[in-house]
Symmetry: C2
Subunit: 332 residues, 2 copies
DNA sequence: GGCGGGTCTGTAAACGATTACACCGCACGG
DNA sequence: CCGTGCGGTGTAATCGTTTACAGACCCGCC
């Protein structure tokens, strides 16, 4: 690989001058600049990012730690992050499939010196503990992390409000026996959605029915399985709130196999509003989350924190949700 | 941030010894090692990856350049890449939304000195031109890049064979008026799928019918639009082959709106077999592509090339596809 | 007792860039 | 004619590591 020294030697100048040309810093005479540019082009010189960031102390990269990837949700999150990053001249150093604390921490350590900040989405790891072990003074931002950690920026979906919205909608449509397919057990988002579900029922004076709360793990297969289980018993629901869209799809496919029509026999609602939801058969009523925006705002907040350095005061934010009524729950 | 020097000073040793402890290189007495480890822990020392890679000339990172992200396809690709990378102790430096050559090249340059190799998925940019401008001696691997570039590893889906497979299936089911919803115009995968479609028709002695080849861009919305257009005319198809699953979903949703039943009135098939396909209503007959494996093999080949250095001889590979018959095309 | 060969440790040169500082020459004003 | 200032350039320190090399020490053996 050709280095700045090669260019300098070939152009008959010092490395300082070459550096000045490439960074537009300091004055360089036109003729020298032209010569250096020509030499750099023929030598195919590309500045070494690693070396540069060692001295400038900026990497223009943010580290992203994600849990296991699945479905359209993460595609959207990553897209949002990447676009925001590009807008601000940053890159994304990605590491996923981190589902326990040790893994996240080791990934964090591995990123030391390669990133200017860390964006962590850990919906099922206690984040306050995490932050304690991050390399000191490295800006961190937590996404969907459940508990708000002091001194660290957080952004989370307003899961509880969203769940209340959709369950209330089902209640207004006349449903009383409303089941929920829960998300993964140790997942904060999942827990908050359950909370919203219970709260909405309670507010409507509908007694809780434990047999209608059934486990899932956010995959289509688990939604399918859950619906099968629900309809194997004799106390069957008239409506199902799946804690995410993927499980709603799985549930709908199970219902079809069982010969139950959606929405005539059973209403089904989801959460997330992934792009596919509107193209389902029937189109899925769900809670809209600006998924890409979650990622984008995460990156943007982090970039701002990096720029402000010490003077940055962290905040805790919620991403609002809205109800999107389509056809999977019928209508009044 | 604490550096190796801080640790050395605090432990009363030289930086060399600290380095040896952290890398397990060279002999260090037990007592010294313990002391250094203790100091490092209290100081929360984490080695600076950037500095380390400057001298070792290894970053343990591969750069990944992707086109615009959408749908479940890319989630899977990234998941496969990340898992393979983790298995080999690598990280992923990601950059997406690159749809023209200048963007890809600038992203490539930005990655110089931060990555050990480049994994480029550019289904609609002439890749031979790309490779010419990559920093010299940097291993590159091309995914779904259309033409095979000499001296560079490539891995692509066997699109043509896959398309032939599914169209032949439709023909065997008795269809003669088979439409195709094409992918984006400048996309290599899309072009190859069209080629497979034509070839299958031709082999069955079915004359080409230009009005049955209709444009799309791989999004659900475009599939929806395409189906609408197809059924607006008077020469309507009895079967639709959508060039990917997302467009198949869009088409099915359009058909439902038009009151046409799938598969009774119209058969629909897709391509990719994203995880959702089996949960559609009806479950989608499609061409199975091991999407995550595409990413994983890409990373693995690249990692091997990096390890072998000069001695590596590049190869061109195809990812085989299989037909997955579900219910969206009916049966004989 | 001297010597060969471990084991342990330190010194210092790299890696590829940026940048503070100093220097040189020249034009300009007084 | 000399001081001032500025445009243009070079020298060298620096960023945080790794690692070749060498030195110090100790042990055992002849």
């Amino acid at each position: 690989m050709t280095t700045i020294k090669d260019v300098a030697r070939e152009a008959g100048v010092s490395v300082a001058t070459v550096s000045r040309v490439f960074n537009g810093s300091g004055p360089v005479s036109d003729v020298t600049r032209k010569r250096i540019e020509a030499v750099a082009a023929t030598l195919r010189y590309v500045p070494h990012g690693g070396a540069r960031s060692l001295i400038t102390n900026r990497t223009s990269t943010v580290g992203v730690l994600l849990p296991h990837l699945y479905g359209e949700f993460f595609s959207e999150v990553i897209r949002g992050m990447d676009q925001a990053a590009q807008r601000h001249g940053y890159h994304l150093l990605l590491s996923s499939s981190h589902d326990d604390r040790a893994e996240i921490e080791s990934a964090m350590r591995a990123m030391r010196g390669r990133v200017d900040g860390l964006l962590v989405m850990s919906p099922h790891v206690d984040s306050s503990a995490l932050v304690a072990n991050v390399p000191p003074r490295l800006p961190v931002m937590l996404l969907n992390s459940g508990s708000a950690v002091r001194d660290v920026d957080t952004l989370s979906i307003d899961n509880e409000a969203g769940a209340r919205l959709v369950v209330r909608h089902l209640i207004e449509l006349g449903h009383r026996r409303i089941a929920i397919i829960r998300g993964a057990d140790d997942n904060f988002d999942a827990a908050e959605r359950v909370r919203g579900y219970r709260r909405a029922l309670q507010q409507a004076g509908i007694p809780a029915e434990p047999s209608l709360e059934i486990g899932g793990d956010f995959t289509e297969a688990s939604g399918h399985q859950a619906a099968m289980t629900l309809f194997a018993g004799d106390f069957t629901p008239t409506a199902i709130f799946a804690s995410n869209d993927s499980m709603a799809f799985g549930a709908m496919s199970a219902l079809r196999e069982l010969g139950r029509s959606v929405p005539r026999d059973v209403a089904v609602a989801g959460f997330d509003d992934i792009p596919l939801a509107r193209f389902m058969n029937p189109p899925l009523t769900t809670v809209h989350v600006a998924i890409a925006e979650l990622g984008a705002r995460g990156v943007e907040t982090l970039v701002r924190a990096i720029a402000r350095g010490e003077r940055h005061v962290p905040g805790h934010n919620r991403l609002e949700t809205t109800l999107v009524v389509r056809q999977s729950c019928g209508s009044r």
